[in-house]
């Protein structure tokens, strides 16, 4: 509608940028059945489904479900040097605490951003999480305690104190666009764009990074490490594409985002799934989603097998292919 009065809007439209309204109306509402949402909104359920399908995820150490669990968390957590606490139904990275170690004296936990928190504060955080402070609908939740992923050295230069993850948008089983999210100081080590991480586009065909977006602006280098973020090859790219292509069978959602981390030892692990993936991936890739999604729609009937879908994506969505 704004195309009528704004040339910028027209240019963006031609470029194929998908806005929130279009994403919701034409894709999320059309292709995602509400009854499958819990499979992605509830990270515990996602984990279980993934394990069942043979998809590796970070090991689950424990779940904190009741106030008593929270009170006794100290004992539970003493077994592990480092871990990640996540609300099972959190969104946008809220409520996540990444503990990288404990202090020798005083029994403090050190977080990824260097902050020290006491056991009491941790228990308080767990209690908050259970009450549903971070959950999408405000309803009571479960806190997950997970293995803390050690990131692959390929990311050392372009991530700050956190684990980068790869976000791939999958439409009808076809990976259409991908980016790697690089934590910064501003994001407190979290790979979350809303909280200040960088998103670097990835060439679907080759797995090599393109330029990046940081808080809606295009950047070429990491603000904290000052290293260029372009032309980095993502290891195990084909495995990641495979995970993405198969994730649709897990959730039965037509339009979703999958987050994959690269662990130093265990390789690609599925972190979580998202029924309403964000749109900044378009800025990170300097490409609009609309054209790619249309292509998938047109050819969907030829894309029954996983290999076909991956091959299709590599062919059609290569970064240097004219749109």
């Amino acid at each position: 509608m704004f195309g009528l009065i704004s040339p910028t809007a027209r240019a963006i439209r031609d470029f194929g940028v998908v806005g929130l309204n279009q994403r919701n109306a034409d894709y999320v509402l059309q292709y995602n059945k509400r009854r499958f949402y819990p499979r992605v909104d509830d990270k515990l359920l996602s984990k279980r489904l993934a394990e069942a399908a043979g998809i590796a995820t970070p090991t689950l150490y424990a779940t904190i479900e009741t106030a008593r669990d929270a009170a006794e968390a100290g004992d539970l957590l003493s077994k592990h040097e480092d871990f990640v606490i996540k609300p099972a139904q959190g969104s946008g990275g809220d409520g996540i605490v990444v503990v990288v170690g404990k202090t020798r004296t005083g029994g403090y936990y050190r977080t990824a951003s260097g902050k020290l928190i006491s056991e009491d504060e941790l228990i308080f955080h767990l209690q908050n999480t259970i009450s549903g402070v971070f959950s999408l609908g405000g309803q009571p939740d479960v806190a997950m305690v997970e293995y803390r992923v050690q990131f692959d050295p390929v990311f050392e230069k372009i991530a700050f104190q956190g684990v980068p993850d790869v976000r791939i948008i999958v439409f009808l089983g076809v990976p259409v666009m991908a980016m790697v999210r690089l934590p910064t100081r501003m994001s407190s080590g979290k790979a979350n764009l809303h909280q200040g991480a960088i998103g670097a586009g990835i060439d679907i065909a080759t797995g090599r990074t393109l330029t990046a977006v940081w808080k809606n602006d295009i950047v070429d280098e990491h603000p904290d490490t000052l290293n260029p973020v372009q032309n980095v090859d993502i290891p195990h790219w084909d495995r990641m594409l495979d995970l993405a292509a198969r994730s649709t069978e897990l959730t039965e959602l037509g339009y979703q985002g999958i987050d994959i981390v690269l662990d130093r030892e265990r390789g690609p692990l599925m972190l979580e799934l998202n029924a309403r993936p964000g749109l900044n991936i378009q800025i990170a890739n300097r490409a609009g989603l609309a054209h790619r999604l249309e292509k998938v729609k047109t050819h969907r009937h030829d894309l029954d097998k996983t290999e076909d879908r991956i091959a299709f994506a590599k062919r059609e969505f290569a970064a240097d292919k004219p749109v």
């Binding site: 509608m1 704004f2 195309g3 704004s6 910028t8 809007a9 240019a11 963006i12 439209r13 031609d14 470029f15 194929g16 940028v17 806005g19 929130l20 309204n21 279009q22 109306a25 034409d26 059309q30 106030a67 946008g92 990275g93 809220d94 409520g95 009491d120 308080f124 209690q127 908050n128 009450s131 549903g132 402070v133 971070f134 809303h194 909280q195 809606n216 602006d217 295009i218 378009q282 800025i283 300097r286 609009g288 004219p322 749109v323």
Partner: protein
């Protein structure tokens, strides 16, 4: 695809809404602008009499019946200690004032307001069941028969017969036969009575109509008289002024028949006492709306299909408010999905806007700012206490109410009254807002938190201003079917897949990179 279905549903809804609206506006005549004016007249009848010796009185006054052309509003009777009842006959309506013991001089006032409506057709009287017979005897009957025969010879049908007789009766120097009928008095009223008798002799149903000429300029309030005759099954008026069929649209028929305007019933000959009566009238401007409403009432239930005006006044007040809330919500949808302003809760701004209606805009914004600000401080202070979620929310709510109580006291002390009207302020919603806001602040930083809080406030202010627009309030209250049109628009917005204004800014950086 999905879009087509939505278009169809929206189209149907909009069509129904518009159709009802047009029916109301054009056919029924609801004014489109709330302050449209229509001409009205206030008419007062004063009747005085002397009841000596004392005794019971039954005084009757004719009341004009409301028609499509003339709307009757505001009837008032000033008659101390008299019982009032309404009598309905087939042609006329009367007010009956009764009192068991009346002694000496009495004055009764009867007032009402008449309005002329837009429809200009002449309303015939309700049909009467049987024709009234004439009451002539002897010499008068003989004279009448002769005149009728002569007139009949000079006319071709009933209509021309009436015109003939009318001409004879109103002639400046009436012929002998007419003079016999008229008797000593030759005023207009007497003429019309004679004409009615003649028509009845000629076996044409007829009666006299008495009324007032109500025009723009002030005239002396004398009663006018004309007749209606039944021709070819229809009641047709004839004017003695013009000698033609039809009467001026300014003539308001008051009652039909030859009875006097004010009569006292049941007097015996020994106690006959005079009634003097006076008619005064005054020209006014009235709201077109009250005009239409009164007309509706006179027409009965059928037409009042979608009119909220039938509800009791208290309920109407509630609906006046409810009816504009959808407007505010629609605006909110526009601001969120088309402009792209983010707010703290889905419908929280509308609730705040409703509260602003009670507190006024300036004070409401101040209240909002203070409550949320202090609430955030209180909550931050409670961090150290490590409370569980629900008790923490409850504690913040209690503090919020305390803050508001203090603000009311302070403003009262300072002499400002606006701080007192805080009843509607959604304290519970504000508590949730404070909680959400503080989490937002912790997780995403103060900027995001303030931006969303500010966005919510702006949306609330805009919704408030929209709801205050009295023209819209009138339109949606008088024409609630327009809500169907609003619903249709909302449905269409439900499939709006264009960009939000804020997104254009967000993705602007890609605009330069054409593929």
């Amino acid at each position: 695809m999905g879009k087509k279905r939505v278009y169809i549903v929206a189209g149907i809804l909009a069509l129904i809404g518009f159709a009802l609206f047009l029916h109301k506006a054009v056919v029924v005549g609801y004014p489109i602008w709330p302050d449209e004016k229509v001409e009205g007249w206030q008419i007062e009848v004063r009747a005085s009499f002397d009841r000596t010796p004392k005794g019971p009185v039954d005084l009757r006054v004719f009341v004009p019946r409301p028609t499509t052309r003339w709307a009757l509003l505001e009837r008032r009777v000033v008659a101390p200690l008299f019982g009032i009842s309404t009598l309905n006959a087939d042609l006329n309506q009367q007010v009956s004032l009764t009192r068991r013991e009346v002694d000496g001089k009495q004055t009764i006032y009867f007032q009402f307001v008449i309005q002329q409506t837009r429809t200009a057709e002449y309303t015939p009287p309700p049909a009467i069941r049987e024709a009234r017979p004439h009451q002539l005897k002897d010499a008068q009957l003989a004279a009448a028969s002769r005149i009728v025969t002569a007139a009949r010879a000079q006319s071709s049908d009933d209509r021309s017969l009436v015109l003939q007789l009318l001409k004879r009766v109103t002639a400046k120097s009436p012929e002998d036969g007419i003079a016999v009928l008229l008797g000593p008095r030759r005023d207009r009223r007497r003429q019309m009575v004679a004409l009615v008798d003649l028509l009845r002799v000629a076996e044409i149903q007829a009666h006299m109509v008495n009324g007032l000429e109500l025009g723009a300029t002030r005239r002396r309030a004398t009663l006018k008289h004309w007749i209606e005759a039944r021709i070819d099954g229809q009641w047709v008026p004839f004017s003695p002024e013009t000698g033609q069929q039809g009467v001026s649209p300014d003539l308001m028929p008051w009652w039909r028949g030859r009875e006097r305007l004010v009569t006292i019933v049941g007097q015996d000959a020994a106690q006959k006492f005079k009634v003097t009566r006076n008619i005064a009238f005054q020209h006014l401007e009235q709201s077109a709306l009250s005009n239409v409403l009164s007309m509706e009432q006179s027409r009965g239930q059928g037409q009042m299909l979608f009119s909220l005006f039938v509800l009791p006044v208290r309920t109407q007040e509630v609906y006046r408010l409810l009816v504009v809330v959808p407007l505010a919500i629609f605006l909110l949808v526009l601001l969120r999905n088309v402009i792209g302003i983010t707010t703290l809760g889905t419908f929280m701004p509308v609730l705040i806007a409703l509260a602003f209606r009670e507190t006024g805009l300036l004070w409401g914004v101040i209240l909002f700012g203070v409550v949320v600000g202090v609430g955030l401080l209180v909550r931050a202070g409670m961090e150290g206490l490590k409370l569980l979620l629900v008790p923490r929310l409850a504690a913040v709510l209690i503090c919020v109410i305390l803050i508001m109580a203090i603000m009311s006291l302070v403003s009262h002390r300072l002499g400002l009254d606006s701080g007192l009207s805080v009843a509607l302020f959604p304290m519970v919603i504000l508590t949730m807002t404070i909680e959400r806001l503080s989490i937002l602040w912790d997780e995403r930083g103060g900027d995001t938190a303030l931006k969303q809080a500010g966005g919510s406030l702006i949306v609330a202010i805009l919704c408030y201003l929209l709801m205050r627009w009295s023209l819209l309030e009138y339109w949606f209250f008088a024409f609630p079917e327009l809500l169907l049109v609003l619903l249709a628009l909302t449905l269409l917005l439900g499939r709006y897949t264009g960009y939000r204004l804020t997104e254009i800014g967000r993705f602007k950086v890609l605009a330069g990179k054409a593929a």
